[in-house]
């Protein structure tokens, strides 16, 4: 071998020793910058795959909207643009905290990073909480995807098994109505989940205690971090419940105002959760109890102001395609939020442990990029789904 080569090798070893004594440095990279650049390029490429992954849904949306604009104008009025707008603000705020968190990580501000990540996590939980109430309300009104109006037994079968009988039999039959107290049950389960989360706080508390008892710093820090994550999620959840109750409690005052009209039926129900269980006690159910053929029709029979409700003859063919697209797009987006929450929790644990330093903050940056792309998708979903028609 030529001497030039060996000289170079010696140089290389110098770097290596320096480089490989640092924590979190991977052996096959030459230095921190190469590791960071590789990670960043990898993350951007992953975002590219995310964009193309979602593109399928945007194409489906565009194709159906271009060909059936009336479906979108008709069906989107069942979405609450103020709830959607609020969720948009929540996500944008979480983007800000995430971007700020990256800044903190770059500057080595440990407590700032922890605060920012906790805020981001809380916003994510708040977003999902609001989404849960939106879904609940729609499920209650049976504003569902197209196939949900196929023979109900067919749906049940398909839920339980991958097999389906021959051809669809498109006889719209009696769909078993969700229990009258559906929403109440939802609230009960949400509270139960909250309690569960609350109780699960004992585990990190225990970890912290053990950490002090046995003077184990990692145990202590992990405990604190998990405690923080659970706390942040709890705060977000509680906020969404408060928003829901505020919206439904306070709407009676706002008569004839903004979009309260198509919520009318729901307000009443929320206001009288106790009696709503009785068939006949509610105008919506008095007519259609048991055998709703067309869920969107149910609104017609309520005492909501008819001027904003379309009659059956106005209802475009295949209007439920809109809800198919709505559930799939927002559902997949929500799944990405959940993945992001897991990643942020992981970051919280590591930042409490103090892993991130000005020369090693890649993971915060990469999760941040992911979180922003999730925000970005919502920025498009919001006007496309909630703000249609004039």
């Amino acid at each position: 071998m030529a001497t030039a080569v060996e000289t170079h090798e010696t140089d290389g070893h110098g770097d290596h020793d320096d480089w490989h004594h640092k924590p979190f440095s991977a052996h096959h990279f030459e230095n921190a910058e190469q590791q960071f650049d590789s990670g960043k390029l990898g993350m951007w490429l992953f975002l590219v795959t995310e964009v193309l992954f979602f593109s399928g849904l945007f194409v489906a949306y565009a194709v159906y909207r271009a060909n059936h604009p009336e479906v979108f104008i008709y069906a989107s009025q069942y979405l609450d643009k103020y709830l959607g707008g609020m969720n948009t603000v929540v996500l944008i705020f979480s983007s800000l905290t995430m971007a700020w968190g990256v800044r903190c990580a770059q500057l080595g501000q440990r407590s700032g990073l922890i605060l920012m990540l906790s805020l981001t996590l809380a916003c994510a939980a708040l977003f999902l909480g609001v989404k849960t109430f939106e879904y609940t309300e729609k499920a209650h009104k049976r504003l569902l995807w197209a196939g949900a109006f196929v023979n109900a037994t067919d749906i049940n079968k398909s839920l339980g098994t991958t097999k389906r009988p021959g051809n669809h039999v498109f006889v719209v039959e009696k769909i078993p109505k969700p229990p009258e107290t559906f929403e109440e049950r939802m609230m009960v389960s949400l509270r139960a989940i909250q309690r569960f989360w609350g109780v699960s706080m004992l585990i990190p508390v225990l970890l912290v205690g053990l950490g002090y008892r046995f003077n184990s710093r990692p145990t202590r820090t992990i405990g604190y971090a998990v405690l923080l994550s659970i706390g942040a999620i709890l705060v977000g959840m509680e906020a969404s419940i408060q928003i829901h109750e505020f919206q439904h409690g306070g709407a009676h005052a706002a008569t004839g105002g903004h979009d309260a009209d198509h919520h009318e039926a729901d307000h009443q129900e929320a206001g009288h959760n106790g009696e709503a269980g009785l068939p006949g006690a509610h105008p919506e159910h008095s007519v259609v109890a048991g055998d709703i053929v067309d869920p969107m029709l149910s609104e017609l029979t309520s005492d909501a102001e008819p001027k904003d409700l379309k009659s059956l003859s106005d209802r475009p063919r295949n209007a439920n395609i809109f809800f198919s697209i709505y559930y799939f797009m927002t559902g997949l987006h929500a799944f990405h939020i959940i993945c992001g929450m897991i990643a942020i929790t992981w970051l919280l644990v590591r930042s409490v442990e103090g892993h991130f330093r000005p020369d090693y903050f890649g993971p915060v940056d990469f999760v941040g990029l992911y979180w922003h792309i999730v925000d970005l998708i919502w920025i498009y979903l919001f006007p496309l789904l909630y703000l249609i028609g004039n």
């Binding site: 590219v48 903050f361 703000l387 004039n390």
Partner: protein, 118 residues
């Protein structure tokens, strides 16, 4: 090599002022887009274009500042923009095709109203 030992030598740090300004702009655009949706300011049929334009401005702000693209390596930006080109291709072909054969589906639906779900 030597750069990497400087503080944050391989990535730009966003200043709080920029972050807050971008956040404020995003909120303002969100409020605008909600307020003008459904208003009579926009001629019918144009609402989607207005909404998408605002969304694109918001998206650009997020990508450029929150995602640091404005200070990032050109390669990363190229990769990302490249993906949008392919989305456009996919979208364009699918829409232009389905629009052209749509009459066959509509005619069929009118002639055979029972064949499809309501």
């Amino acid at each position: 090599m030597s750069d990497s030992h400087d503080h944050h030598g391989f990535a730009h740090v966003m200043s709080p002022a920029v972050l807050l300004a971008v956040f404020a702009a995003l909120i303002v655009f969100t409020v605008i887009t909600v307020l003008i949706a459904g208003s009579s300011l926009i001629p019918p049929g144009f609402d989607i274009y207005v909404a998408l334009t605002i969304a694109t401005i918001k998206a650009a702000l997020v990508v450029l500042f929150f995602m640091h693209m404005i200070h990032d390596k050109g390669l990363n930006a190229i990769m990302f923009v490249f993906s949008l080109v392919f989305v456009a291709l996919f979208l364009g072909a699918a829409i232009s095709d389905t629009e052209q054969y749509q009459h066959l589906i509509k005619d069929f639906g009118q002639a055979n109203p029972d064949s499809m779900a309501k």
